[in-house]
């Protein structure tokens, strides 16, 4: 079996005349905790939009578990095992927290055997893991920021992914809350889920990741272990200016 779960090969993406991604190649191993950093506008979210299917890459290929997925619509990729959370939370506001999780359970996990499945029970179990059980019947638009973040992770997990992409799941949280979310991600990784973390909070990425890539202006400028990345001159330049 191939070691790499996700292979991004020479992916490029342009918006009009603006090059958001320029020939980016990344391989992510099964079970890896992978950090993706870079200043604002460096192409992090564009990259994971291309991986999750919200955007189509213009050039290059994306292989997930040995299969070319870059032409598949997003829902097909979710069904193959790629799940994500959003930088700005996107809850289903007309539903309760529990129902938010039922959507992926119905459309991904149990779509072939819906009448037999106890989707509500499963959703409840997931909420318990996330510490959101007491909010199960709350309308999703009444959650606090940290609860929203957790719900997004829980909803992504409900699709039973093999690869979880966490797009700034900790933005705007207090340090205690950051620790809480980090702990959840560590726990998920321990169950064998590969995780890509995009984050601006350096302490969190550095603590979490086994390997980090830094993007700047759509290119990979540096790749390595977290402690090497922070010392890298290019990374410092990209973040702090010349």
């Amino acid at each position: 079996m191939d070691q790499a779960l996700l292979k991004v090969k020479s992916v490029s993406k342009q918006f009009g005349g603006f090059t958001a991604l320029d020939n980016v190649s990344i391989e992510i191993a099964r079970g890896e905790r992978f950090g993706l950093i870079g200043p604002n506008g460096s192409g992090k979210t564009t990259l994971i939009n291309c991986v999750s299917g919200s955007l189509r890459n213009d050039a290059g290929s994306i292989e997930f578990d040995g299969e070319e997925v870059s032409r598949l619509p997003a829902f097909q990729r979710t069904r193959r095992g790629i799940a994500r959370s959003f930088q700005i939370p996107r809850p289903f506001t007309s539903m309760t927290v529990l129902e938010n999780l039922v959507v992926p359970l119905e459309y991904v996990v149990h779509r072939r055997s819906l009448h037999k499945a106890d989707t509500r029970g499963e959703a409840m179990a997931l909420l318990q893991d996330m510490g959101l059980a007491d909010k199960a019947d709350t309308q999703a638009n009444r959650l606090s920021q940290v609860e929203l973040r957790k719900m997004e992770l829980a909803r992504a997990m409900a699709a039973r992914p093999r690869l979880l992409i966490s797009d700034e799941a900790m933005a705007g949280l207090s340090s205690n809350e950051v620790a809480e979310v980090l702990e959840i991600l560590f726990k998920l990784n321990a169950t064998g889920i590969t995780i890509i973390m995009i984050e601006h909070i350096m302490q969190a990425v550095m603590r979490f990741s086994q390997r980090v890539i830094c993007l700047d202006a759509g290119r990979i400028i540096c790749e390595g272990a977290p402690q090497d990345i922070v010392r890298n001159a290019d990374v410092q330049k990209a973040y702090l200016g010349a």
């Binding site: 997003a74 069904r79 799940a83 959003f86 996107r90 007309s94 959507v103 992926p104 119905e106 991904v108």
Partner: protein, 311 residues
């Protein structure tokens, strides 16, 4: 179960009244009210559940009506078959229009549906066999027993269709399909990333919605003994189909029913007592009032109140 019992009771009462009550006008007016129940329910499947505002109701409704009229003229097809054929044609229109336009979001989709109405009207204005711009006079066959008048028969038929449409909408609302549609309305990108095949689901909703609108239009040529493009593809159908769920509430299958019963009855009343121009004004005013003061409609208001009193 409660739903089916109430539906059966209502239908039985409607049939009994059609057989017993002598006043023909009541059924003439009630037919229109029931027709708007079907239209509003159909509209709500795409417009309410999935949040795709559709101004194209007259296109689907009119295609259904013309399908029925042309089939009647050509083969003297019985009414039930006319309705089925009309539903199929309008469903196909929904499929084609859906595949072409449902990639557009928000206001762009709404604009495209208006264009659909103009296209369909132009088509039928230029089709000589279907009567062209002057229209087509149709001679009603005798009513089927036990009904002694055609209008009363159509009234009961529309009642059956209304129950069918509401039952269908209710089933969708409570199934995984309804949850998927709501996910699309709440956030399409998140829905797609949760495994919801958004385009497929939207097209499905558009086909079903279109087919029901077509079915609602099918008896129209027989109801009027006449069909012509300008009144068949009239934008008032679009407004009625859209306003009723907005007033009744889009989140629950009873919303469009309550809205249509209220709005259409009021319109019928005003048309008779004041003037037919006045009833358009009433829709406008009510729509504005509800959108501003009760965006969740009457069903939303009722829910809010029951919550308050149960505390």
């Amino acid at each position: 179960m409660k739903f089916w019992i109430s539906a059966a009771v209502l239908l039985a009462a409607a049939t009994a009244s059609a057989l017993l009550v002598k006043n023909e006008y009541f059924f003439f007016a009630a037919y229109t009210v029931l027709m708007f129940v079907v239209l509003a329910t159909a509209w709500n499947i795409l417009g309410g559940y999935a949040g795709y505002v559709n101004f194209g109701t007259p296109a689907f409704f009119g295609l259904g009506a013309y399908t029925a009229a042309v089939l009647f003229k050509a083969f003297a097809l019985p009414l039930v078959l006319q309705i089925l054929a009309a539903a199929a044609m309008s469903g196909l229109l929904g499929l084609a229009a859906g595949l072409l336009t449902l990639r557009l979001r928000g206001i762009f989709f709404a604009i495209a549906t208006i264009a659909l109405v103009v296209i369909m009207e132009t088509l039928f204005i230029n089709w000589r066999y279907a009567g062209g711009a002057t229209g087509l006079q149709l001679l009603r066959p005798p009513p089927t027993a036990p009904f002694e008048s055609y209008i009363k028969m159509l009234f009961v038929l529309m009642g059956v269709m209304a129950v069918g449409a509401v039952a269908l909408a209710r089933w969708i609302e409570r199934s995984w399909i309804g949850r998927g549609l709501r996910a699309i309305r709440d956030n399409e990108e998140a829905a797609e990333c949760s495994g919801v095949p958004t385009l497929r689901l939207k097209v499905f909703a558009c086909v079903l919605s279109g087919a029901l609108m077509g079915a609602a239009g099918a008896p129209m040529p027989m109801y009027l003994s006449f069909i012509e493009p300008a009144s068949t593809f009239n934008l008032n159908y679009a407004i009625g189909a859209l306003a009723s769920p907005m007033i009744g509430g889009t989140a629950h299958y009873l919303g469009p029913v309550i809205g249509a019963l209220l709005l259409s009855s009021l319109q019928q009343l005003v048309t008779v007592t004041i003037s037919s121009e006045m009833n358009v004004l009433i829709v406008g005013v009510l729509l504005v009032v509800f959108v501003v003061l009760a965006p969740d409609g009457i069903v939303g208001l009722l829910r809010k109140w029951t919550k308050r009193f149960s505390r």
